[in-house]
């Protein structure tokens, strides 16, 4: 069928066996691709209780039916596994140019099992797949690895690789491509490192066929017209990058500072999109097939790189009270080269700063100390000294120091850049996220702050559950394609389903895509339930539930989570403990 390549490559690194399988039609119809296909493979192949860093875990690279086509932002790929940071099911995705190259090898997914004895890489093209020795790259940073790989295999080969953080099994290690693009969250890079897999190289050249070219190009044209008309995709993101959010979030009392102890700070302007544009911006950048161009090529002194994005400005900036843009940028470059998730790294360092202030850490780590922050980033990647504890993430670090309440996470995943006391639906979104505290499973900020499609009362809890669920289902549906979240500022399920229909020839309505998303969400939940997760884990740190802020626009607010959670479970068709009921599973085609 057009859109899909119809093949899954299965590589066992323990036995060095490589097998090509047909894409199962039932799995394709129910889970489409990307995150959906990844979730299905992980659910079916990872036994309950599996150590995520053992050979028994699987790592799945996958793309969707729109990847490599003319659809907007069709350059992304998805990685799925069991997370070493949270113990939940996990997926992370990344832009850049790796996705289309991967798909051009003629596959929809690559399943990696087992573990090699020595460093290897997997080299792919449309004719062949090989496991090659990677000893020469082991120990190298992402930038050097990418350069060396390009020198050896040619520039047509795109690499998704890990840095030292992944090699050293740092629980927040990312998989990097295009030097600065990251499948960042949850420790996908550590799983890759545990398999002694340094890189996946893709150098395919197969074309992706679409079923109805005329209709497909018409919907693509209309989608691009929406981006041209929408102020966020045509002005805000291209002009300032994602950093455009810094000033707004600060003014509304949502930008976390000092490990989420305050949310409004006079120095936030230093980290703003305006400041970034004036001081370090070299040029705008875009991923494959994207006209939004939110990426930033930047320069600090003689050092060139990309970023920082808004989330990084928060995590390595405001959350640590480091208000020096250049230091944040250098720490960002370091994370990219070492292969680290900037959100988890920054929030874990902020946690260390608070622990240090409370006398619970043996080493002095002061608020606002950008040089120390940079040092700790490197130490975490190599697990040196205090870095060895930071490499475990904030939840384990704070527990070890006897103050678990200082870790700002949900299910072990460090929270992103929006204090939920200022957007209570976002609080429910964090608490119920299947991969832990995350803004990309449901971005209630679009409704509660940005007013897309309409602004709602951010402090109210009424009917937030339905909206969170709707976004969770939509985003899971989008992640099967694998579409960039920023397209969602302009497009809705109607556009995606029409592109999907035209690309594949299979009829999808917007509601069909929502249903696919709901099915994925419930399958992921089943995985987590099987691992022992439940209501007790669908929560937030007490800081958000019991400690109102004393200053700023969000003062006096806490998240009233329980009523929203009750409504959420009811809405989802789950029982009181958050387990999907038989009736729900039956409806979604997930029944036994």
């Amino acid at each position: 069928m057009a859109g899909w390549m119809g093949k899954i490559l299965d590589v066992d690194l323990s036995s060095s066996k490589i097998r090509v399988a047909e894409l199962d039609e039932q799995a394709r119809d129910k889970f489409v691709g990307g995150r959906g296909l990844g979730a299905k493979i992980v659910y079916d192949n990872v036994q309950p209780g599996t150590d995520p860093l053992s050979a028994a875990n699987v790592l799945v690279f996958s793309v969707g039916p729109l990847t490599g086509t003319a659809a907007p932002t069709s350059g992304r790929y998805s990685v799925s596994t069991k997370s070493p940071l949270t113990g939940t099911i996990l997926d992370a995705n990344s832009g850049g140019f790796f996705g289309p190259k991967f798909k051009s090898c003629g596959i929809d997914a690559l399943v990696i099992r087992g573990a090699a004895n020595s460093p290897v890489l997997i080299s792919l093209n449309e004719r062949n797949a090989e496991i090659l020795d990677a000893s020469e790259y082991w120990g190298k940073g992402v930038f050097d690895t990418t350069t060396m790989v390009n020198e050896k295999f040619g520039k047509a080969a795109e690499a998704a690789c890990i840095g030292p953080a992944g090699e050293n099994l740092v629980r927040m290690a990312a998989i990097m491509n295009d030097r600065h693009r990251a499948a960042a969250r949850g420790g996908v890079g550590a799983v890759m490192g545990s398999k002694k897999l340094k890189a996946v190289l893709a150098a395919g050249s197969m074309r992706v066929e679409v079923a109805d070219r005329e209709k497909f190009l018409f919907v693509v044209k209309e989608s691009n017209r929406v981006f041209d008309m929408h102020p966020i995709t045509s002005k805000a993101l291209p002009r300032f990058g994602t950093a455009v959010l810094v000033n707004l979030m600060n003014e509304l009392g949502l930008l976390p500072a000092e490990n989420f102890r305050s949310t409004f700070h006079s120095e936030a302007e230093n980290l703003s999109g305006e400041a970034l544009t004036k001081s370090i911006l070299v040029r705008r950048k875009g991923c494959f097939g994207c006209k939004i161009q939110c990426g930033r090529s930047t320069k600090v002194g003689n050092v060139e790189g990309e970023g920082p994005e808004f989330e990084t400005l928060f995590a390595l900036g405001s959350c640590c009270s480091v208000w020096d843009l250049e230091k944040v940028t250098l720490a960002n470059y370091a994370c990219n080269d070492l292969g680290l998730d900037t959100i988890s790294m920054g929030v874990t360092i902020a946690c260390a700063m608070e622990l240090s202030e409370k006398g619970a850490l043996p080493e002095k780590v002061s608020w606002g100390d950008g040089d120390k922050m940079l040092e700790l980033v490197r130490k975490a990647a190599f697990r040196e000294g205090l870095g060895n504890d930071l490499a475990e993430g904030s939840m384990r670090l704070a527990s070890k120091c006897g103050l678990p309440q200082v870790a700002m996470h949900s299910k072990g995943l460090e929270l992103p850049a929006y204090d939920p006391r200022g957007a209570k639906g976002q609080g429910l979104a964090y608490a119920t996220s299947n991969r832990g505290g995350c803004h990309l499973r449901s971005y209630m900020i679009s409704l509660e702050i940005l007013g897309i499609p309409r602004r709602i009362d951010r402090f109210s809890t009424t009917n937030k559950a339905g909206l969170v669920i709707s976004q969770q289902n939509l985003y899971a549906g989008m992640d099967t394609l694998v579409a960039c979240r920023f397209t969602g500022y302009g497009l809705d399920e109607d556009y995606y389903s029409r592109m999907l229909t035209a690309a594949t020839g299979a009829a999808y309505t917007g509601e069909d895509l929502m249903l696919v998303g709901e099915r994925i969400w419930n399958l992921e939940r089943l995985f987590n339930v099987r691992e022992g997760f439940g209501r007790k884990d669908d929560t937030l740190p007490d800081r958000f539930l019991k400690e109102p802020l004393s200053t700023g626009p969000t003062r006096g607010q806490v998240v009233e989570l329980e009523p929203m959670l009750n409504e959420y479970y009811k809405f989802r068709g789950w029982d009181h403990e958050g387990r999907p009921t038989e009736r729900t599973l039956e409806r979604l085609g997930l029944g036994s």
Binding site: K215, F218, E222, R225, V226, M229, L447, P453, R454, I456, S460, T461, T462, N463, A465, G466, L467, S470, N473, L474, E493, D494, R498, T509, G510, E511, D512, M514, P563, E567, K570, F571
Partner: protein, 204 residues
């Protein structure tokens, strides 16, 4: 749902009932609007004046089971339920905007001719059903069409708009009426429009 939350929902329904009435899209007591909250829907009571919806004029009905609320709730309650069960909508408005109804009597589908209309709606299907009020035919036709379109018009009857928010459903209703008005006025002029996307959006 606690009483405070129910009160918020009533205020939302009353606010948009009044707006729709004042714009002439809900004439006197006609039309209805609802919000989904978990496994319940909250819908205007049958026969309640659209511009004077009080707390007791919003009826709570079970989404999945038939219950005794049917004695009070709107004639179109089952259509609202069918939309919620068939789509991911969280708010539904059924109104009687005059230009939409007029166009539904003339055209087989309404393609907006103005930029805002085609940006928001692309195409408004016109549904033809035998029994236009509260029938099974209507339930099936409306819930099925709203899987693909934001708003629809039932020929000679009125509009249905579904969205995640009541404000958005209201916006869609207003856009349908504005687009229909423009199309009707162009039609009435008898002149050939210099901008017309009908051919393109027929395939949407």
């Amino acid at each position: 749902m606690d009483s405070e939350a129910k009160s918020e929902i009533w205020k939302e329904i009353a606010k948009y009932g009044k707006k729709l009435h004042d714009k002439g899209y809900m004439v006197s007591h006609s039309g209805n609007l609802s919000i989904r909250g978990g496994d319940k829907i909250y819908i205007k009571r049958r026969g309640a004046a659209a511009d004077e919806i009080g707390p007791e004029d919003v009826i709570e009905a079970d989404l999945f089971e038939e219950d005794s609320s049917i004695i009070l709730s709107s004639t179109e309650t089952m259509v609202h339920k069918a939309v919620y069960l068939g789509t991911s909508a969280l708010a539904v408005i059924h109104a009687h905007p005059p230009y939409c109804i007029t166009c539904s009597l003339i055209f087989d589908e309404i393609i907006p001719m103005d930029a805002e209309g085609d940006y928001v709606l692309r195409k408004i299907p016109v549904l033809v059903v035998n029994e236009v009020s509260g029938s099974k035919d209507l339930e099936n036709a409306v819930s099925s069409a709203l899987k693909e379109y934001k708003g629809v018009v039932v020929r000679g009857h009125g509009t249905f708009a579904a969205a995640k928010l009541m404000e958005e459903a209201y916006h869609i209703t207003c856009m349908m009426e504005a687009a229909s008005q423009i199309r009707y006025l162009v039609h009435l002029s008898g002149l050939k429009p210099k901008r017309d996307k009908t051919a393109e959006f027929t395939k949407w």
